[in-house]
């Protein structure tokens, strides 16, 4: 029995497209935080599901790479699993769920809790690359504002938050100034993760497929969350430790556990949670052995 063989180029995209994207990436790295337009291609998933991230990953991945894909911090959600399988098939790369083993990490909402290291590449799937969009709908005007470094508008948003809620209410996609120059939307990561971008040893690449923009934060680049002198940037805090592994100082998801509105908080980063829980178990077992 013969199968109709569907063949595709390495990492799905044709070489010409990959070169176009790599050129955009190089420009993005050369001008940290600047949005580089690129011709976004069709990939076998709908726009809005991470096509920008998939194209960037396809352009940087090779058979020697190890890919990790997370969606809301989890490795086991539908989108994460299918993107991982997709690249394992078309790019013949290894895949992993461990942050420290991955060379390329594609993500939408989170930066892993495990500190990133030199040589790792973070790829973000960005829905709205323009941080000024909330206040200025015209693309021609926002590009001019970036060119002239005219960012007073963004502070109007912060002002409105403080006037209305008494504090800066934005908790995700919190705008940052990259390398003291360009204002950048860090994709919809929680403001909790913003400090991890500052002088990170890893390379951060952002791809917006629907909006056709690519931008980047090179390793060891200053990334400052904008704020007022008297109302500083405050990342979200969690009071209770993780119900599964007991971690504190990490980003949590609230999980509803019954019909009475009862809920627990667990780590959003599943890889971190599993490893902390496993090492704790190890300690417990050793403790039991020792006391027996």
């Amino acid at each position: 029995m013969t199968f109709p063989r569907v063949t595709s180029n390495d990492a799905y995209l044709d070489e010409q497209t990959k070169r176009v994207i790599r050129r955009a990436l190089l420009k993005g790295v050369a001008i940290p935080g600047f949005q580089v337009p690129f011709a976004s291609r069709e990939v076998p998933m709908p726009r809005g599901w991470g096509t920008g991230g998939v194209q960037v990953t396809a352009s940087v991945i090779g058979p020697d790479d190890t890919l990790k894909v997370i969606d809301q911090g989890a490795d086991d959600t539908t989108n994460a699993v299918s993107i991982r399988q997709f690249f394992s098939k078309v790019a013949s790369c290894d895949t992993t769920t461990r942050t420290d083993e991955a060379t390329v990490i594609q993500t939408r909402h989170r930066i892993p809790e495990t500190p990133l290291s030199e040589g790792q590449i973070m790829v973000y799937q960005v829905p709205t690359p323009e941080p000024l969009r909330w206040l200025e709908p015209r693309e021609s005007e926002t590009r001019r504002l970036h060119a002239l470094e005219d960012y007073g508008l963004m502070y109007v948003k912060l002002y409105e938050d403080i006037a209305r809620y008494g504090h800066i209410a934005k908790t995700y996609d919190y705008p940052v100034i990259v390398n003291g120059r360009y204002m950048m939307a860090p994709s919809p990561i929680p403001s909790f993760d913003n400090p991890k971008l500052h002088r990170s040893p890893a390379l951060h690449l952002f791809g917006a497929g629907r909006e056709k923009r690519i931008y980047a934060v090179p390793p060891y680049t200053d990334v400052r969350s904008i704020d007022f002198e008297d109302f500083g940037f405050e990342p979200q805090q969690f009071k209770t430790p993780c119900a599964a592994c007991g971690s504190v100082g990490v980003y949590m998801d609230e999980v509803i556990v019954d019909d009475q509105g009862g809920s627990i908080f667990v780590c959003s980063d599943t890889d971190h949670c599993e490893r902390v829980a496993a090492s704790r178990q190890e300690v417990d077992t050793r403790f039991e052995e020792a006391s027996a």
């Binding site: 007073g152 912060l158 409105e160 006037a163």
Partner: protein, 270 residues
Amino acid sequence: MTAVFTSDFGSDVGSEQPLLSVRNAGHRYGDRFGCRDVSFDLWPGEVLAVVGESGSGKSTLLGMLAQRLSTDEGSIRYRIDDQLVDLGDLSEREVRRLWRSEWGFVHQNPADGLRMHVSGGGNVGEPLMAAGWRHYGRIRARAEEWLKRVEIPVDRIDDTPATFSGGMRQRLQIARNLVVSPKLVFMDEPTSGLDVSVQARLLDLLRGLVADLGLSVIIVTHDLAVARLISHRTLVMKDGAVIESDLTDRVLDDPHAEYTQLLVSSILQG
């Protein structure tokens, strides 16, 4: 003696120079001119009214002076650090700096000059934030101070202009323009969308602010009463050209040009 003379002379140069100097300036729409061959000097603290019927080129002139429209002929020079600089030579960045820090523009329709879904305080604070203010408490205090000055109740500071009356919106727009202490304010028919009693109060307020702050103002109006009340000098425009210009009282009491006579005599007598 000579040395004293020169140093005195030197210190006087600043005030001896106009703030804005316009020579034979014109703006073209396609192959016809919206306004042409306009020349005048505007001095610090002076209020200049530009009057004329609709279509006479008043708003085109204002747009051209404010660098919103191109200067296709002649020159417009503005005083920066005691030097008259041709605005055509400035980069976009420098023109934007002027917009932010030295000029104001009051639109006829407040919705054009305000962010209708940002609070009153945010609207007044925006020019400050654009100028680099990064202290919420100080921005808010300054916004409150300006709301008081334009007679908007301070407890409306967090309401959006969408919930304000026409007169309040116009006063908010004026506050937003004056908060950065500009030197020159352009006003395009600031009172014409308002009813008569509100107009009178707004003009009164404007006159007080202009005198207090020593502003130079170029105000476009089709209402001669507004020109009479607020301006020192008046330009009369017709078909894109200035047909008469002099002290306001002279122009209105003793109009020379035929068209001005017609304009003055067509004021409704109450």
